[in-house]
Symmetry: C2
Subunit: 106 residues, 2 copies
DNA sequence: TTTAGTATCTTGCATTGCAAGGTAGCATAG
DNA sequence: CTATGCTACCTTGCAATGCAAGATACTAAA
C-alpha cells in the first residue's frame, strides 16, 4: 500500500469512527487495519495530536484482558473538524478522479 | 485544501495525464490546478523524481512565448507504475469510504 | 518460567508538498 | 531604453505525518 496516500486521511478515519461511539487506541488500529494498513506507531501520536487540538477527550477504563484502556471521545470541535474533513475529502477525490480519467474538457 | 491529502497522489495525476499526451511542467501545473491546488515548487521536484525513477523521459522544444519548454514523455515503466497507482488509489478510496461511512458490519 | 495476546507509549527516519526566492526569454507600454 | 508582466524553468529549507523498531506492563495459558 502506498504510504503517502494515507497522509491526513487517517485523522479523518479516526474522527469519523469516534462519531459513532468511543474507541480505545488499540481497537481503532484493529478496525482501521481491516481496510487500510496501519501500525500502532502511527495511531498513538495521531491520537495525541487530536487531543492537543481539542478534537477528542480521553478517559481510562480497566480491562480483564490486559492493561487499562484509554478511551477517546469526540468533542463538538472534533465533530466540526470531521464534517469539514469529510467535505474536503469528497471534493478532493472527485478532483483527482477527474484528472486521472482524462476528463479535461479540451 | 488539506495539503496532506495530496501526498503521493500528484505523482498519479501527472503520470495519468502523460498517458494521454506529452506535457511540459508549467502546463501540468496549469491543468492540475483547475481541480487541485498545486504550486510550481511541488511539480518540478516531482518531475525530477519521476525521471530519476525512469518513469518519464524529457526533451526540449523552443517556444515563441518565452523560454524553451521541457516536455515529459511517459515510459513503459511509467505506464506500469501508473496502472498500479490507479489500482491502489481506487482500492484506497474504497477502504476510506467504507470506514467513514460507518459500514463496519458489526 | 516462558510465551503469547492485549494495550500503552517513544524515538528517529523517510517522504513529499510548499513558500519563497532566483534566472531568463519575450512582448508591450511608457 | 526601461519597466512591467507573462511565460517557463529551477532550488533551498521547512513542516507534516506515517512507520519501523523498540520499551513497558498486565493477564493467562503452556
Amino acid at each position: 500500500m502506498n504510504i503517502q496516500f494515507k497522509k491526513g486521511v487517517l485523522e479523518l478515519c479516526v474522527l469519523s469512527m469516534l462519531l459513532e461511539r468511543d474507541y480505545y487506541g488499540y481497537e481503532l488500529v484493529e478496525h482501521i487495519s481491516k481496510h487500510i494498513d496501519i501500525s500502532e506507531g502511527t495511531i498513538y501520536p495521531l491520537l495525541r495530536r487530536l487531543k492537543t487540538d481539542g478534537f477528542v477527550k480521553t478517559y481510562l477504563e480497566e480491562s480483564q484482558e490486559g492493561p487499562p484502556r484509554k478511551y477517546y471521545t469526540i468533542t463538538e470541535e472534533g465533530k466540526k473538524a470531521c464534517d469539514e474533513l469529510i467535505f474536503e475529502w469528497n471534493h478532493f477525490v472527485q478532483g483527482v478522479n477527474t484528472i486521472i480519467k482524462g476528463d479535461r474538457h479540451e
